[in-house]
């Protein structure tokens, strides 16, 4: 229950959702739609559809997690706000906790499987 509150408290419920990808991309600097798509493609291997990208942008701006910056042409760049940075930090901490937990459990399982396999090999050799 506490963990769930920690995630929803920043409004980013699913870690693989476009909002997290956009915030991560904007963490390295202001970007417009096309630059965001290309950047996300390069670091996450995910191609966001134009509708999905702008839907997420609208939602993030509505919540004050990103904000538009001045532009000279039709391309509208966005920047991450202080709330956006806090939201991303919390989301990343959550992802890290999950990754660490998964890593520990997987290592335990591999160690157990390894021990069993060794025992079988020893028994067979005897």
């Amino acid at each position: 229950m506490t963990k769930r509150t920690a995630v929803t408290s920043v409004g980013l419920e699913r870690n693989n959702e476009p909002s997290v990808l956009i915030l991560t991309s904007l963490a390295s600097g202001d970007k417009h739609g096309y630059a965001l798509t290309k950047d996300i493609e390069s670091f996450a291997g995910v191609t966001l559809g134009p509708g999905t990208l702008y839907g997420a942008i609208a939602r993030l701006e509505e919540r004050g997690l990103i904000a538009p910056t001045a532009s000279e042409d039709r391309r509208q760049p966005y920047r991450i706000t202080a709330s956006g940075q806090a939201a991303l930090t919390t989301a990343l901490q959550q992802m890290r906790r999950l990754a660490d937990e998964g890593d520990v459990r997987l290592r335990l399982r591999l160690a157990k499987t390894g021990r069993t396999r060794n025992a079988i090999i020893i028994r067979t050799a005897q």
Binding site: T8, S9, V10, G11, L12, E13, E17, S19, H32, G33, Y34, T37, G49, P50, G51, T52, L53, Y54, G55, A56, I57, A58, R59, L60, E62, R63, G64, D73, R74, R75, Q76, S83, A87
Partner: protein, 322 residues
Amino acid sequence: MRGTNRFERMLRWYPPSWRSNYGEGLVALLEDTYGTGKIPLGARFSIVRAGSIERARETGLMDRAASSLERQRTGSLLVLCGWAGFMLAGTLFAKFTDNWGASSSNADRGLVKVIYGTVQWAGAAGLLLVLVAALMVLPSLNRLARSGAWTSVRRPVLRAVGAGAVILASTAGIALWAHHLSYRDRNGSLVSYGVAVSCWSIAVGVAVAIGTSAAVSITRRLDLSIRKVRSLSSFAMALTFFMAVILAAMVAWWRIEALHAPAFMRNGIGNGFLVTSSSFPPALVVASFIMLLGLAAAITGTVRVVQARRDVGVPLLERPIN
């Protein structure tokens, strides 16, 4: 320029307010990505899907960012739309079972009567809830009319009044005609009467849709107190329950009578038009399908009301993005 125009045309899927905020940015993205090349089907689908979602959000049907009260109100309106479908399907069921009392069936008559009565009582209870809700919003409607905001709802209201007048006149005409016909003529022998009744049924369906749309337009503009919205949304939840009861009882009645009174089911309205079946009479198939759609809408509305009540006092940032 030709390319820009085709990208701008794609924006029509989005509501005007969204277009004015993000339209240019999205067009620029499409230009940068696809230039003069072909827009892939996946990208088109992404735009259509996202645009439809934005439209749904604008009507308040999908927006978790909207206030709790607004979401309770739209959830309740969705239940009302579902109820409109039930009214249509209920009329069809009532017409189908017109002469059911006189039919011969070897089923446990007492049980079937209780089930049939359940449909009627749940229908009456639902109708009563809707009428009480309408009475509750009357003072607010009066205020809306006096405030001059009437012009914003004039068109849907006039359309609903017009549709109501057409239905009244056509119902009187059909009833007058039916009065001079025999039982056989009224039940399939006279093709022209059958066609007229079919057209009238479609007109009733359209009129119910127009009336519901007017009710939704008006209710969205009404200034309702927190207490009133809560009461109305509680009514909506109760209405969903009655709708589920009606559908369950109707299907139970259908199942029993299909087994025990096949002759009655075979002679019901709609049979002989495209198919003849005692197990799946077309009228009951259509009625249950409409009811299923209505119940799905009502359940969606109720879930929205429950979610909105749970979110009362929860800041926007603490709600998940959807």
